[in-house]
């Protein structure tokens, strides 16, 4: 008996793997209609997933850059004297959360505005004589959470006519991201389930088509896993093919979007398209293989009685 149990655990040979590979590919071709449906579903599911991932990644990138820039801008009344200005500055510095403080004079503000206008800076020419822009303190705090508290304190000080901080926009952006994340998760779960269902159906057809063969294999002494592997391979291939198609679609689609954004919209830059190849490609391949393998296993459990 020991000889038998030893043989059960013999390592699978490369030749056997080749056999599994060949069998699964030939099954996919024989079942081409269902195979096509399965591959398309997986591709669609991963394509949608990809769009959401790219969306989230880009929004996240924007948020990080915004978060970095979270600063409080305290505008001074035009009648504030230099002395008063120094008083305010030292008072603000006393707030523990304040990391840095920079004074921006009326002239600085105008210069900055001109720079923002870029090629159109001539538009600001008339403003030099009667500068409408107020002087301000630009304050950075240690943590985003301390922004609200700090800006409230500054707003109460004498000589300050207005305080601005980026909290509102930040909150809105974070809320949008969370919504995108939640809805994409729901969509991915649904599409993933459809993919698994379709693949398990495809495998079921193959199992039925090969019923006779499976019976013969059992009599000849094929192990359970020798019989199962080709079906498992088949599912994993379907998932992988779907993943590859979705990656190609995403790559070409996103490269186009990046190109358009780069030429027409200057305000923000997108994550480069190489991101798809470097990060998404292998992640999606694994997800595809897992979806396919799961679909196979479900079908094998239900329809392959060994």
């Amino acid at each position: 008996m020991s000889e038998i149990s030893k043989e059960v655990f013999t390592v699978m040979k490369i030749k056997t793997f080749k056999y599994f590979f060949k069998e699964s590919i030939s099954n996919i071709i024989k079942n081409r209609v269902m195979s096509f449906a399965s591959i398309t579903t997986v591709a669609a599911a991963l394509f949608v997933l990809g769009i959401f991932m790219l969306l989230v990644a880009n929004v996240n990138k924007m948020v990080t850059s915004v978060e970095d820039k979270v600063e409080i801008k305290a505008f001074l009344n035009d009648d504030v004297t230099t002395l008063k200005q120094n008083e305010i500055e030292s008072e603000i510095k006393k707030i523990p959360a304040v990391k840095s403080i920079v004074f921006e004079s009326k002239e600085d503000a105008l210069e900055k505005f001109k720079n923002q206008l870029g090629e159109n800076k001539d538009l600001a020419n008339g403003l030099d004589l009667k500068n409408p822009l107020p002087a301000s303190f630009i304050i950075k705090v240690d943590k985003v959470e301390n922004v609200a508290d700090t800006s409230n304190k500054i707003a109460k000080m004498e000589g300050i006519y207005k305080v601005k901080d980026g909290r509102d926009i930040l909150d809105k952006v974070i809320r949008v991201i969370n919504f995108i994340k939640a809805s994409s998760l729901a969509l991915i779960v649904i599409l993933g389930a459809v993919g698994i269902f379709l693949i398990s159906n495809t495998i079921r057809l193959t199992v039925y088509a090969r019923k006779k063969e499976i019976g013969i294999m059992k009599y000849i002494g094929a192990t359970d896993w020798f019989i199962r592997w080709p079906f498992l391979f088949e599912g994993m291939f379907l998932g992988l093919f779907g993943a590859i198609i979705s990656i190609l679609l995403l790559k070409f689609g996103y490269s186009y979007v990046v190109k358009v954004v780069a030429t027409d919209v200057v305000i923000f830059s997108l994550i480069p398209a190489e991101y798809i190849i470097n990060t998404l490609a292998w992640q999606f391949s694994i997800v595809g293989i897992v979806i396919g393998g799961l679909g196979s296993l479900i079908s094998l459990r239900r329809f392959l009685v060994l």
Binding site: V8, K13, M217, Y219, G221, A222, D224, F226
Partner: protein, 228 residues
């Protein structure tokens, strides 16, 4: 080689298929298993293949207690014998050569061994010139020869035949029997369930007759003994 000790099999519907059967088949024997339909021949073979388990009693094959086999050990156990069926059970989308090679692929034999052995088997059953044909292109007798070659490919010590000549005309059947006799003479134990009176009577081998689940006759150089 095969030893049944007080083996009984009662199916779920309380049908008693085998009742207290004890029999020993020795290495090198050629045994016919005869009896009317539903007598228990199929149950006997299914028990041997470990497709079903006995309700009581013990079955020893090649010093292996068949009931004690774990699920994982069953395939290895089945590799120790070859099986031939009445309906051949060849794979229709594989050629003659591939059908025989398939049995060896399953046991993960090397390509060189497969090539050598399959050609050897093809010449043994006289089908070397039809290696690349598909089962549907062959006559019934030829298909059964392929099945026989497949059953013998892994060099089993025991060959189990379930009505191997049932679908063949008498002349073709006789050809198969001559082949089986040769195989037996080269040392392979053969257990053959059959309804073929002519064959059994002519071969003059050991005959075990089962009726209603009981062995009613066990005869060396026996005859079929039924008029059907």
């Amino acid at each position: 080689m095969i030893k049944f000790s007080n083996v009984s099999k009662v199916y779920k519907n309380n049908h008693i298929a085998l009742s207290n059967v004890s029999v020993t088949i020795n290495r090198g024997d050629f045994v016919f298993l005869v009896g009317p339909s539903g007598a228990g021949k199929s149950t006997f073979i299914k028990l041997l293949l470990r497709e079903i388990e006995p309700t009581s009693g013990e079955i020893i094959v090649n010093n292996v207690d068949v009931q004690k086999l774990t699920r994982k050990q069953i395939p290895m156990y089945r590799r120790s014998f070859g099986i031939v069926f009445q309906d051949f059970r060849l794979l229709s989308d594989k050629t003659v050569y591939e059908n025989i090679a398939f049995a060896m692929q399953i046991v993960e034999a090397s390509s060189r061994d497969i090539k050598k052995r399959v050609n050897q088997m093809l010449s043994l059953v006289g089908l070397s010139n039809k290696a690349n044909m598909y089962p549907h292109q062959l006559s019934g007798g030829e298909q059964q020869r392929v099945a026989l070659a497949r059953a013998l490919a892994n060099n089993p010590k025991l060959l189990i035949c379930d009505e191997p000549t049932g679908n063949l005309d008498p002349e073709t059947a006789w050809g198969i029997m001559e082949l089986l006799n040769d195989i037996n003479l080269s040392g392979t134990t053969i257990l053959m369930a059959t309804h073929a009176k002519d064959v059994v009577d002519k071969m003059k081998k050991r005959v075990i007759a089962i009726e209603k689940g009981v062995i009613v006759r066990d005869q060396q150089r026996g005859v079929y003994g039924y008029e059907d």
